[in-house]
């Protein structure tokens, strides 16, 4: 028994090596794509056909089913990216730095999507594509932070220095995430307050909430699948000199 638990622990840490992680990630990717499509279909069905029309905002509110999950993911992915970057910095593990590098563009896309769908929502509701509201501005900064991280990593030639410099930048930028999250509370500006909270029951209709949660799960699965795909490519790129990559079926052709 003791032997078994020891082994499973060993197996976990074995995955920190790119050569061990590469095939596992490959096996997991189809699984997460299936979940993405399943949650996506269910979420879209609930959000378009089941969820009621909003009393105040009419049909226009339905963009919430993309807007809110995208915003959540943009913040969450930043935290995950910074965490991987930090782990890479402290323990000098190669795979964690690759994970951070893989997550960054996905997070940037999520932040962009959040801003863009927000603009689509803002135009009919507030009469403006963009206002300099605290939450919008801080989300924009988050987008810039992602771009900065990507640009910094791309412009440093030595891989290890790029990883470490990116990690420091990612960790410094974490300061912004709580600012976005609490911005609707701290500054009472145009952006509406949070409709979903951990501490009190939701202020929205249950079907709306379900639609949003299903879409959030879909975005989650998408982000995981994309990260795994991207990290596999990064592993191939960085480990291209090693034997195990040279012997891969897909590399040999």
């Amino acid at each position: 028994m003791n032997d078994l638990t020891n082994k499973s622990w060993l197996n976990w840490f074995r995955l920190a090596s790119p050569s061990a992680f590469y095939p596992v990630a490959g096996k997991l990717i189809p699984f997460f794509w299936v979940l993405t499509v399943a949650f996506g279909l269910a979420g879209l069905w609930v959000s378009f056909f089941v969820a009621p029309v909003d009393a105040v905002q009419g049909q226009g509110y339905r963009i919430i089913f993309v807007h809110v999950p995208a915003s959540w993911m943009s913040m969450f992915l930043y935290m995950i990216m910074a965490a991987w970057a930090g782990i890479g910095l402290v323990f000098n593990t190669r795979l964690s730095a690759m994970m951070a590098q893989a997550i960054a563009p996905i997070g940037a896309v999520m932040a962009f999507l959040s801003l863009w769908t927000g603009a689509f929502w803002g135009k009919p509701m507030w009469g403006a594509w963009w206002v300099w509201d605290a939450r919008l501005t801080s989300e924009l900064i988050l987008f810039f932070l992602y771009l900065g991280f990507i640009a910094l990593q791309a412009s440093i030639d030595q891989v290890r220095r790029a990883d470490k410099a990116g990690a420091i930048l990612a960790l410094v930028g974490v300061v912004n995430v709580p600012i976005i999250y609490f911005s609707v509370k701290w500054w009472n500006t145009l952006h509406q307050g949070a409709s979903v909270s951990m501490t009190k029951s939701s202020s929205m209709a249950h079907t709306m909430l379900w639609g949003m949660l299903l879409m959030a799960l879909c975005f989650w699965m998408y982000a995981i699948a994309m990260t795994l795909m991207r990290v596999r490519v990064i592993i191939l790129e960085r480990e291209s000199h090693t034997d195990w990559v040279q012997n891969l079926k897909e590399v040999k052709g």
Partner: protein, 221 residues
Amino acid sequence: MNAFFMIVQRDLLLVMRRKSEVLTALFFFVIVTSLFPLGIGADAALLRKIAPGVIWVSALLATLLGLQRLFASDYQDGTLEQLALSPRSFVVLVLGKITAHWLVCGLPLLILAPMIGLQFDLDSASLETLLLTLLLGTPVLSLIGSIGAALTLGVRGGGALMSLLVLPLYIPVLIFGAGAVYAKSVGLDVAGHFSLLGALLILALAFVPWVSAAALRIAIE
């Protein structure tokens, strides 16, 4: 502490030998702020309203100009490596270099700002607030900027990249700095703005020297 003052003194001496670099950033500040009335029009009421933002944004950009030189020449001639290897605390030495940068790039802005403010027809109360916000804010600019300067050290296209990294992090300082002057000019309470600027300064002082030192160690590794 002695090492700290030695570094400040050395960097100031180096700057005094090559004054043109400092003056460039200062003239940049004066010229950029003077361009706004020409571009927007000479409506005094409008100028009064945009003055805090214009002066603050120009101060950000002028600081950015000076940042590129913060570690670059020491990096090129190997001094930085010697500093990192020295038995003195590298963090203190880095803080010394940042302090010298503020004395050269931040402090002169403070001295020039009232003159620019007068060009924009600011009243004396607003000018006073502007000076105080710059006094609290420009050290934060130098501190945060040093992280960007350290991260992009020796990187091709480093200057443009540094603006991309640093400017987003400058936004809070800009919001509260310019916000305080604007609030003062319309007769609102400015204590909150000053508390937040002070908090930013304390936070930056507490963490940035370590972060910059770590980033520099990565660069010279």
